[in-house]
């Protein structure tokens, strides 16, 4: 628990064993030792591998979409295939990639380390959550084999109850993955409450953990509703229960309420952990105490809470009552306030810092650029009368790619580079890192900026054919997406290279202050060979580094009694 016991405890500095022979990677050998591992770090890597795979899969599907959109009429895909591909692209990117991405991969790896714990509170649940995720993913992929789903990732009724495709196995897959998400959430909350090292008050927790905490709260409160929604949808198909299907007396708008009650908060499951990463990056690479620690920490909770009140902004033209549209629009804007607070505090942190433009920092700055655009366009479409025009056009597509790809994915990339030395024990190539970051940044804008224009000109989304007048913009966007793909291939190459040939990483290459850097790279099986004691805040760059490596002198006397 957090508070130090009343007995006097003695602490001393524990120097880091720079390159211990045994680390978590070679602690046990063999594939099986990975597949049934209870080590949060290995589970984190398992997740990281899986989400990378699904990101590439989703990305390749996106390139197919973009290729079809090169010409106004049919070129390489027919209408049904196109519909299935954007559905799969959306569903894979959302449920298989972005929701588990930061929390389950980086969060699993670093949450226990950042609080000086040996593991999460329930390691077995953690492993279970990974395998549940895999099982869900298999169901989802199975749906492709059995005829694919063509409903859009939103599974709106009654189309989803009528279309002849494999909606049941897809939704079952998503249903199952929900439990994986819930288990991760439970695990994180309990771990943060109960396993923090001595001295680590809430105010000394890295902001990444605050963001994971807020995320976990959303996960446990929203995901069950998704579960019941999908269960009802499945029952609708299997038994014809008639809650959502108008042909049976149900109400399709009710389905949308249920769906967005989960899926709007879910967008904060995606972005809030990204905020956490950005807080770490900005502080570390300007070597400066974070500005407005509490403002940033608490705004995550505020976003999580307000995020539950605004789901109806996806439904302004759905036929819900005007009254609720007005209320939802009003509440929607208030998410912008805590988000803005974060952004301004990050900018203020840069002030008088010592800014080092390493690759992770470049990603952080790219994030600020892209996410602000995505967020401000969110305000645009939250405005009632404008939304009527922009709803279900490419403007929306551009908005959510700016926040999800330009926000979450860019932050994830920043985080991966930042923690790469810690996770793998190797340094990546800085020059290639920067070049790739630039390529991704520019081609991303090239892909999605034109979509704002198309959208406001009236180009509807989920359109397989379109009017000639949009062809120029579509082609520009498609070419951008190819370059974007190239950027990711470059990244895959230099990161893979660094795994084998990269120079060995020191324990703390960036001069950071949070706990995960106070052990060897890669860490040993138990993270720390002692119980860490926290004296300073995680961003106290003005304190000498060795004071962050304190630990209890003798562990065994610490038990109660």
């Amino acid at each position: 628990m957090a508070e130090t016991s009343k007995q006097t405890i003695s602490i001393r500095e524990y120097p880091v064993d720079e390159h211990p022979d045994k680390n978590y990677l070679n602690h046990d050998k063999g594939i099986l030792s990975w597949l049934i591992t209870l080590d949060h770090k290995r589970i984190g890597l398992l997740y990281l591998g899986s989400i990378t795979f699904f990101f590439f899969l989703g990305g390749v599907l996106a390139l197919l979409l973009r290729t079809e959109l090169l010409t106004p009429a049919q070129s390489i895909l027919d209408a049904d295939t196109y519909n299935q591909i954007f559905t799969l692209h959306g569903a894979i990117m959302i449920f298989l990639f972005i929701i588990p991405s930061i929390p389950a991969a980086l969060g699993n790896f670093f949450l226990p380390m950042m609080i000086g714990a040996k593991d999460v509170a329930f390691p077995r649940l953690n492993l279970a959550s990974f395998w549940i995720y895999v099982a869900g993913a298999l169901f989802a992929l199975f749906s492709i084999v059995t005829g694919a789903v063509d409903t859009g990732w939103t599974f709106y009724t009654p189309y989803s109850t009528e279309t002849g495709t494999a909606v049941v196995s897809m939704t079952l897959g998503v249903f199952i993955m929900g439990f994986s998400s819930i288990l991760t959430g439970i695990n994180f909350i309990v771990t943060l409450h109960k396993l923090r090292s001595p001295g680590q008050a809430w105010g000394k927790m890295p902001l990444f953990l605050w963001s994971l905490y807020a995320t976990a709260i959303i996960q446990i409160l929203a995901t069950p509703v998704l579960a019941i929604t999908l269960l009802l949808l499945i029952m609708e198909r299997v038994l014809g229960v008639g809650i959502f299907d108008p042909a049976l007396g149900g109400d399709p708008i009710l389905y949308q309420h249920f769906f967005w009650f989960y899926s709007h908060p879910a967008v904060y499951i995606m972005i809030v952990p990204a905020f956490g990463i950005i807080s770490e990056l900005i502080s570390v690479f300007s070597r400066k105490t974070i500005f407005g620690y509490w403002a940033i920490a608490l705004s995550s909770l505020a976003i999580a809470f307000i995020g539950f009140l605004v789901w109806g902004h996806h439904m302004f033209v759905s036929g819900q009552s005007e009254l609720s549209s007005v209320v939802f629009s009003f509440l929607t804007f208030f998410v912008g306030v805590p988000t803005g607070i974060k952004i301004f505090n990050w900018v203020a942190t840069l002030y008088k810092g010592s800014i080092d433009l390493k690759t992770p920092m470049l990603y952080a700055l790219a994030f600020l650029f892209l996410f602000t655009i995505g967020g401000l366009t969110g305000i645009m479409i939250g405005a009632l009368s404008v939304n009527v025009h922009l709803h279900d056009t490419y403007y929306i597509v551009a908005h959510f790619h700016y926040v999800m790809m330009g926000g979450t994915v860019i932050a994830l990339l920043g985080g991966i580079h930042y923690w790469w030395p810690k996770m793998t024990g190797r340094m990546y190539n800085e020059v290639w890192g920067k070049i790739t970051c630039a390529v991704i940044f520019f081609s991303f804008n090239m892909t999605f900026l034109p979509q704002f224009v198309m959208g406001s000109q009236g180009m509807p989304r989920r359109y397989f054919n379109y009017l000639e007048e949009f062809q120029g913009l579509h082609q520009f966007s498609t070419i951008g997406s190819y370059i974007l793909g190239l950027g990711f291939v470059m990244m895959a190459l230099y990161l893979a290279y660094s795994l084998f040939r990269g120079p060995k990483a020191p324990p703390n290459p960036w001069g950071a202050r949070s706990l995960e850097w106070m052990t060897s790279s890669p860490p040993t099986h138990h993270n720390f060979e002692y119980t860490p004691v926290i004296l300073h805040g995680p961003y106290d760059h003005h304190q000498p580094e060795h004071e962050f490596r304190m630990g209890l002198v003798s562990e065994s006397k610490e038990t109660h009694g």
């Binding site: 009650f261 009140l309 036929g319 819900q320 009552s321 009254l323």
Partner: protein, 88 residues
Amino acid sequence: MAVAGALLVLTFLTVAVTWIQIPEPFNVIVAVGIAAIKASLVALFFMNLVRDSLLNRLAFVLSFLFLAIFVVITLLDTLFRDSGFPVF
């Protein structure tokens, strides 16, 4: 933990309340109200929330809060579908 006796009495009380409740014509609120009382009795004593940590109590309350949000805001739509534009 000397609540066992009290628990028994409470159980009978809650059951008894159920029985009286049936002939009552005036309904949903009463029915749900009584159910809520019964539920809180179970939560407080059987599940021992009276003595539990603040956090666990908070968890319990939070779930009701968010359910309430869900219901109330959804009703804002479903009850006002055809009433046109609200005039303030």
